[in-house]
């Protein structure tokens, strides 16, 4: 038993979730190896990160709410775009 005992403010990921993550990684390695055997080494993508923050350095409830509203509007816009209703 560890000398560090959990308190009411402690948090540990579950062992089950770690086992699932381990299994995902093993499956990924297996798939990667099989693909490389068949198609050769993968060419790394030149795209590193093309995302932009909704707001630089948010630091107030007004900023957090602004981000929430932008995400809500964007989600609604794209849901409407990809799932047009039958009468539109």
């Amino acid at each position: 038993m560890s000398r560090i005992l959990p308190t009411k403010f402690s948090y540990r990921p579950s062992i089950q979730s770690l086992k699932e993550e381990y299994a995902r990684r093993i499956a990924f390695q297996f798939m990667k190896k099989r693909r490389e055997e068949k198609y050769g080494p993968r060419v790394p993508s030149k795209i590193t990160d093309n995302s932009q923050p909704w707001l630089e350095n948010p630091n107030s409830v007004a900023d957090f709410w602004y981000i929430s509203e932008q995400i809500r509007k964007s989600t609604e816009k794209w849901q409407t775009h990809f799932n047009p209703s039958s009468d539109s």
């Binding site: 560090i4 403010f9 770690l18 995902r24 990684r25 909704w54 409830v61 709410w65």
Partner: protein, 231 residues
């Protein structure tokens, strides 16, 4: 944000400590998601009745504001407000532009934990306090909601990033405090790089405990195997 909510927050934070929790806090920590309400933890004060009186006093400047409780966000007035707060730990306010849920006792946290939680908060530019990601996880841990599970996964990554930066150079006391709050194989692996034998011993001890419980990553580290790469 509606001017009413901004003015309300200005007044409230000039008198009391207010911790941002819930979805807004998750957004503040960097997750792209939206929320339908603002969850705020107002310091609990001496009693529920004092707490409600203070809230009513601040809201006196907002004639549109009304109090509501679950179920179905029924409007409540007078003594029923304190009764609802005692029963469910929070009250909703309508009339400030968007729903605002004011908590006296958030999920899984006792009112008397406020000072402890507040001591770990970041202070926002508007005077509100932002709850620490690990404390925010605790409020979401037992809800069983899918969105909270996703929030927890995100918040874990925020906490992990901080731990991976700090643990390699933490003092034994700092490491003990940090690992008492949060530990898993990745942060323990980084603690093993700390030059302090005491920190390394602590990390090894916890890795053994996790490996015995069935964690395959901890087992790999202890047996000198490379852990499988992330997809």
């Amino acid at each position: 944000m509606a001017d009413a909510l901004q003015s309300f927050l200005g007044l409230l934070t000039s008198r009391h400590r207010v911790i941002v929790i819930g979805g807004l806090a998750v957004i503040a920590h960097g997750r792209d998601r939206h929320t339908k309400d603002a969850d705020l933890w107002l310091e609990p004060m001496a009693s529920t009745s004092t707490w409600v009186e203070e809230l009513e006093s601040v809201l006196a400047d907002f004639p549109e504001a009304t109090f509501h409780r679950i179920p179905r966000w029924t409007e409540v007035r007078g003594l029923d407000i304190a009764e609802a707060v005692d029963e469910i730990g929070m009250i909703r306010i309508h009339g400030l532009g968007q729903p605002v849920d004011i908590f006296r006792k958030p999920n899984e946290l006792e009112a008397d934990a406020f000072d402890d939680i507040a001591s770990r908060c970041h202070t926002n530019a508007d005077g509100t306090l932002l709850i620490h990601p690990l404390d925010l996880i605790i409020t979401k841990f037992f809800t069983g909601r899918k969105s909270d599970h996703e929030d927890i996964t995100f918040l874990e990554s925020v906490a992990r990033k901080d731990y991976l930066e700090k643990l390699p150079s933490a003092t034994p006391e700092e490491a003990e405090f940090m690992l008492g709050r949060y530990a898993e194989w990745q942060v323990l692996e980084s603690a093993l790089t700390n030059p302090s034998p005491a920190v390394q011993a602590l990390a090894t001890e916890m890795l053994k405990e996790f490996a015995e419980a069935g964690d395959p990553f901890s087992k790999d580290i202890l047996e000198g195997r490379k852990t499988p790469d992330r997809p």
